[in-house]
Symmetry: none
Subunit: 231 residues, 2 copies
DNA sequence: AGGGAGTGTAAAGCTTTTGTAAATAGAGGA
DNA sequence: TCCTCTATTTACAAAAGCTTTACACTCCCT
């Protein structure tokens, strides 16, 4: 496993220096910024971060605003650091979208353990970066243009077919139930006798088959569908 | 989105009652057990839990032991509760695989926020992938794809066969009665003269035998079945 | 040894789920 | 409005899986 990338957003330079020194030997690479504006800029710069450590008291934008803005487009886990006097209610003010909170002053080992727990948990997610091109065997899918290439040739899919293929490919090797697919792609619960997903999968297979490619989508009767990858 | 399933393992009946009352209106369904042994049994019963709340001080097995045993086969997020505010305890729990740690007495809103954060984060994952691969000798079972590899080759099982093998492997070395298997796998009481389980086991053995592997499933006449491991 | 209960398993029957063509409904644009 | 493209529903055949039946065999008990 390569080094984990952390982004630390805190205006206390003494603390950031200390933390950085503490975390580096543990296999983390730490980028530091000292205000909310720079924090948002860095987090959305395109560089991938495994975790963001975010102080609540910040110049320019405070931690809550940074959190709110980031959550619009990013799912990177965020651990918030709060000074003692901060309004607990506001921190808990649910729906904010942070993954963990830790009150200053904190035990360094506890911070380290919480970082490790979050990173470990996140590493279970399949390809998290939803925006990247996704290529498996001879099928390449590009989210930015919503296009799919199969063996170099363009595969014409409808919106729903594209979404299903994307979801299956993101979770390749994992079984996805029709319920899951319906909720994530169609945004509704799968009703009894609802055959929509079956139809879309059937159409997808038909289109893929025209490109004389191997069977990609496997059915697990009573359980769901699974995208296959070779070897 | 349907209600989230929580498992609360704590011997303090007053607290569990209180918490249960507090969490239900927020859209959680809470199952409660009061000792470590029952906790493990319930968590591995096959019912899906979105989150497990685990007290450290427990009869039978303490929280750390429960955590260790569960982590062998399950990746369900676990939030640990402790009476002691000891940092070292927290660190230990987190390093052993817990996802969060909260010291008693805690603010109910903080618990609620932490539960919500964990559940929100996990809901990004398909439900199947919260269980770890299970490998015993040359048989490897992968819950996320519901596939089984035997000596590296793919073993094609039906849903029920898979479930029975999963159950047997989870309890390897322990005898499982047909009644238990029927209830956990088929979801019904074993009726008199019901030979379904026998048939499924027979088919399982036949499929395993094609991979010229050793006898894995042993019969205990009048008692049930047992999954064997070498040495 | 005889007999009953429990088990292994082939084969048949039944139920549920899936694949897909075709009909219908709906949305968006010219 | 009508046309076109998509999504959904309907309908039915086919496939796959589950259960039942039947009978042979095995293990124990007397």
């Amino acid at each position: 496993m390569s080094n984990k990338q952390l982004l630390l957003i805190d205006d206390d330079t003494e603390l950031t220096e200390l933390l950085s020194q503490y975390l580096k030997p543990q296999g983390y690479e730490v980028d530091i910024v000292h205000d909310g504006e720079a924090g948002i800029a860095q987090a959305t710069s395109g560089k991938h971060y495994d975790l963001i450590l975010l102080d609540v008291m910040l110049p320019k934008f405070d931690g809550f605003e940074v959190l709110k803005k980031l959550r619009v487009s990013h799912l990177t886990p965020i651990l918030m650091l709060t000074a003692k006097g901060d309004d607990l209610d506001k921190i808990l003010g649910l729906e904010m979208g942070a993954d963990d909170y830790l009150a200053k002053p904190f035990n360094h080992r506890e911070l380290s353990a919480r970082i490790k727990a979050l990173v470990r948990r996140m590493s279970l997610l399949p390809a998290t970066s939803v925006q990247q091109n996704l290529k498996l065997d001879d099928v390449e899918l590009s989210p930015s243009s919503q296009q799919v290439l199969c063996g170099g040739r363009l595969l014409e899919l409808t919106g729903t077919e594209y979404s299903i293929l994307h979801l299956l490919m993101l979770n390749h090797g994992n079984l996805l139930s029709k319920e899951d697919i319906s909720e994530k792609v169609l945004g509704r619960k799968l009703a009894q006798f609802d055959r929509s997903i079956d139809m879309h999968v059937s159409n997808l297979r038909k289109k893929l088959a025209e490109f004389n490619t191997k069977e990609k989508i496997k059915t697990h009767r009573g359980a769901g569908y699974l995208y296959l990858v070779e070897a």
